[in-house]
């Protein structure tokens, strides 16, 4: 296998979990594998332009996020942005991750990305680097989003 292929294989292996969870959150159930493959293609096409200024993992996530956001636009998916009132209140039993996924799906693209990266245990600085924002802005928004979620679901 050529060196570039080996490097790319390692990149996919190291990031497979994060990328699949991102793809599932930005595409329909029938479509997420298509998005994931598009992300792989964009990573392949852009790998030579990675200049090493950022960490590879944050660069990978940024490529994936930009691809996912474009994918939603092309598929004409609703932007999200309103938290449903009945989140977690339906008669059916809701797995905690199901409720979390519903909450994520109700968010705009950037808020969703913020929480996803926090769920993946990325630091404030890494999240800020991916989004091109300041760490402070990330911290403020993260606190608000978690409060929103906690008030609806985690607190009795």
């Amino acid at each position: 296998m050529p060196t570039s292929d080996v490097r790319f294989q390692r990149l996919l292996d190291d990031n497979q979990g994060r990328l699949e969870r991102l793809a599932r959150q930005y595409a329909d159930p029938a479509d997420w594998q298509d998005l994931l493959q598009d992300i792989h293609v964009q990573l392949w096409l852009s790998l030579d332009s990675f200049d090493g200024r950022a960490q590879l993992s944050t660069w990978v996530y940024r490529v994936a996020l930009n691809t996912a956001i474009s994918h939603r636009r092309k598929r004409r998916m609703p932007p999200g942005g309103e938290v449903p009132d009945n989140l977690g209140d339906s008669g059916a039993t809701h797995d905690s991750l199901d409720v979390l996924r519903e909450f994520l799906a109700s968010l705009g693209s950037i808020d969703r990305a913020l929480l996803l990266m926090d769920l993946e245990d990325m630091t404030r600085e890494q999240i800020a680097d991916v989004l091109g924002l300041s760490s402070g802005a990330v911290a403020v928004r993260m606190t608000r989003l978690k409060q929103q979620f906690s008030q609806r679901y985690l607190e009795p």
């Binding site: 296998m1 292929d5 790319f8 294989q9 996919l12 292996d13 497979q16 979990g17 699949e20 969870r21 493959q37 598009d38 792989h40 293609v41 964009q42 990573l43 392949w44 096409l45 852009s46 332009s49 990675f50 660069w59 940024r62 490529v63 996020l65 930009n66 691809t67 956001i69 474009s70 636009r73 092309k74 004409r76 932007p79 905690s96 991750l97 979390l100 705009g108 693209s109 950037i110 808020d111 926090d118 769920l119 993946e120 245990d121 991916v130 989004l131 091109g132 924002l133 300041s134 402070g136 802005a137 990330v138 911290a139 403020v140 928004r141 978690k146 906690s150 985690l154």
Partner: protein, 211 residues
């Protein structure tokens, strides 16, 4: 259940194992994408060049027959056949290739410029695509056959088709490209709001410390 518990559960979510052919699948998909782009870019040029001999033939015959209307119209069509591919090629070259490794704000801005350029091209299609073609065809037809009843009906049909093409292009510009521009603006607003909120939080903390 705490946020930390959710984080742990989230990261333990079962993930589809990568197939052994993942890298090869990606390369094949990338090649298919490149071929699609080349095909799209090349089709207009190939079609235009394929029509050049025919139109050149009209021009040549009109010059020998001294039919000035056919001459002028065929010349217009010939120029148009070179202009259209050139314009499309220029539009593609003026926009830098978007790099998904850029911060989202810059990536989105480039996407927006690309969408706006596409929208403008479609909205102006009557001036650079339809009108020259229609005038050329009308001139060649009238020049060669005169203004007969059949020619008038033919030109009326061509006019209706041109109006239809113009409407369809404007609709595509509005419902496809302008819509995407609006969505890009919304996402950029999200980013701008985040920074503004941080600045507001920072300055309100600063105000609390003032005597």
């Amino acid at each position: 259940m705490s946020w930390k518990d959710l984080q742990d559960q989230w990261q333990r979510t079962a993930v589809t194992p990568l197939p052994a052919s993942a890298v090869q699948d990606t390369l094949r998909r990338a090649q298919r994408l490149r071929r699609r782009i080349l095909w799209r870019d090349g089709t207009e040029t190939v079609v235009a060049l394929a029509l050049v001999p025919t139109v050149f033939g009209w021009l040549h015959d009109a010059m020998h027959a001294h039919i000035w209307l056919t001459e002028a119209s065929a010349a217009l069509l010939l120029v148009w056949l070179f202009y259209v591919p050139w314009r499309l090629w220029r539009a593609r070259r003026l926009l830098p290739r978007n790099d998904p490794g850029l911060p989202p704000q810059r990536y989105l801005e480039r996407e927006k410029q690309a969408m706006l350029a596409q929208a403008r091209m479609l909205e102006q299609v009557v001036w650079w695509y339809i009108a020259p073609c229609m005038l050329g065809i009308a001139g060649v037809t009238v020049g060669n056959h005169g203004l007969t009843r059949g020619v008038v009906i033919y030109l009326a049909v061509v006019l209706v088709l041109c109006v239809l093409i113009e409407r369809l292009n404007k609709r595509a510009a509005k419902h496809n490209f302008r819509r995407r521009v609006a969505e890009i603006d919304a996402t950029c607003s999200e980013l701008a709001t985040l920074e503004a909120a941080q600045e507001a939080a920072h300055s309100s903390k600063g105000n609390h410390h003032e005597p």
